[in-house]
């Protein structure tokens, strides 16, 4: 009697542990499926780089002598200003305000960029004259080849303030 009962109990235990194993397996597989979907979700949402990013996008600004000393020229297509300082150096500054991303227009009379959104001001080198902007305007690399000024606009460079090393001298 007793022996039989124990045997039955054992087999029940056996079964229940197998059952609980299978149950956990299914639960785990369900979790994996959910995770896979979450992964796909993130993958589809992920920002994709445009295909032509390797070559870079180069804007041909024009001949060297087109740009007077101490002038700022707008390039709406390239989303930057080409600033030529008094020492002859070139600087391509992004038109995007570093505070909240508004487009800053060049005020030629005052000789500064004034952001319409929160009144941040920058000088011709992109340095902050008046906050709330936290840092200088981004720049783009400038190249001068055979007297032609070219600007690579594929990736803006962040900087905290202006330094002479950022200039491209002719």
């Amino acid at each position: 009697m007793n022996a039989q009962a124990t045997e039955r109990n054992e087999s029940a235990d056996d079964q229940s542990s197998r059952r609980s194993f299978l149950w956990k397996l299914w639960l785990g597989l369900g979790g994996v499926a959910l995770l896979e979907y979450a992964g796909l979700f993130a993958d589809f949402l992920w920002p994709r780089k445009p295909a032509d990013v390797d070559d870079g996008e180069v804007v041909i600004a024009g001949a060297l002598e087109m740009f007077e000393l101490g002038s700022v020229t707008a390039f709406p297509k390239g989303k930057f200003y080409l600033s030529r300082l008094e020492n002859g150096g070139f600087l391509a500054v992004s038109r995007q305000c570093t505070h909240l991303g508004c487009t800053v227009p060049w005020d030629a009379e005052q000789g500064r960029f004034v952001c319409p959104c929160h009144a941040s001001e920058y000088d011709a080198r992109g340095d902050v004259l008046s906050p709330p902007a936290p840092r200088a305007l981004d720049t783009f690399p400038v190249r001068i080849e055979n007297g032609i000024v070219k600007v690579d606009i594929s990736e803006p460079r962040r900087r905290s303030s202006f330094e002479y090393a950022q200039l491209t001298m002719p």
Partner: protein, 468 residues
Amino acid sequence: MSKRQEEETEQGEERTGLSGRVWRSIVRGPIRPRDDRDRMWVIANNFILHLRPKKLPARSLRYTHTFGLGGMSAVLFTLLVATGILLMFVYEPSPERAYDSIVGLQTEVFFGKLVRNVHHWSANFLIVIVVLHLLRVYFSVGYREPRQFNWVIGLVLLLGVIASNFTGYLLPWDQLSYWAITISTSMIAYVPFIGGWLQEVARDGPEIGAATLINFYTFHTTVIPVLLIVFMGWHFWRVRKAKGVVIPRAPGEKLEDQPEVVVALPHLIMRELVVALILVAFVLSFSVFINAPLGEAANPGMSPNPAKAPWYFVGIQEMLLHFHPLFAVVIIPLVAFLALLFIPYMRYDDDVAGVWFVSQRGRRLAVIAVLAALVITPLWVVVDEFWIGSNGWLPAAPPAISNGLLPVAVMVGALIGFGALLRKRFSASRDEVLQAAFVLLAVAFLVLTLIGVWFRGAGMALTWPWNV
């Protein structure tokens, strides 16, 4: 055979033709409920009505207890789905076509403008109504046991409603939407360490473009509505499981063990229908007379002046003018949201569930807090604008301290001092002090939002509403 069954057979025998048999297969209960038992049967067995209880305490019916705000949110959501589906037939989510398709909708599609207006105004009212709903639950102390977790679900729904509004804001692709989303997504960049990456994910690229638009469109039309429906179901179900809304009572009143109950049909359902109909009538007539704004087509080269975020984020934009971005965009909103989440799980001294404003004293302290916030907030804004400036209180220190940590520390100190004062001067209880602090902060944020919307003109300088 009981009398009841006989009656039902009689009713059934009235319709023995094909149409009668089909009808009986759809509506299996009494066709015209004659008594409360019939009505309860209808409630329990009707697919839609079974979301409602069969019976409920008579005193929880009073309109001024809930103001029908939860139901109104559900009605607005339904309006939004109905009009949103129509808009999806016309709208084209690409930067080249989006604006033109909205213009076409407004000029060429029959009732196109009205449908867009209803969608626009329902969405804006929904934000107002869900916030009022949150305030109602807070002030009638409806978040305590067993309703704690439903408060959390409600906060998730609030986030969903805001996200839904925000993603919809971009879709018209006019100057207003383009720059509002530019500013709002630029705020994300101030999150420490991962801000730049978060911003790029939100925009699906370095700047707002076709990829951003299609993502926002998908979230707006599919992901968020589906999540909202799921969480709404959960929210309603939890209300049922808590045996309805919290029962209102006077301060100090003990609830009787066997409260008077009434049958939901007609007492609850009819009230809900009346609120729903009035609301729909209001939204429709509002939309007939007042058009949803549509600016010029988006021009990434020219920011309008002033450029403002959507109105529900303008309070945060206003904080940006007074605090270092790290505090205005990240720390303060995050702490505020965590505090909201934590409200039902705090330790409370008094059993006051269902007592409006905790007590008579609580009511008086709440009024004091409102007045304090109404005085201090504009004063702070004006003083900071004209005397302190964006260099902060200690121009020598780094901006995160002089314009961030320092003013925030002063504010927190003032809040603690305010609480201590209430405790000492009015011998207020813990519950009353916490409520007063909540009121103070909520009204302060409201004032900031109003200042941002009505008192900020060109270059975000302070000005009068008629100059904005």
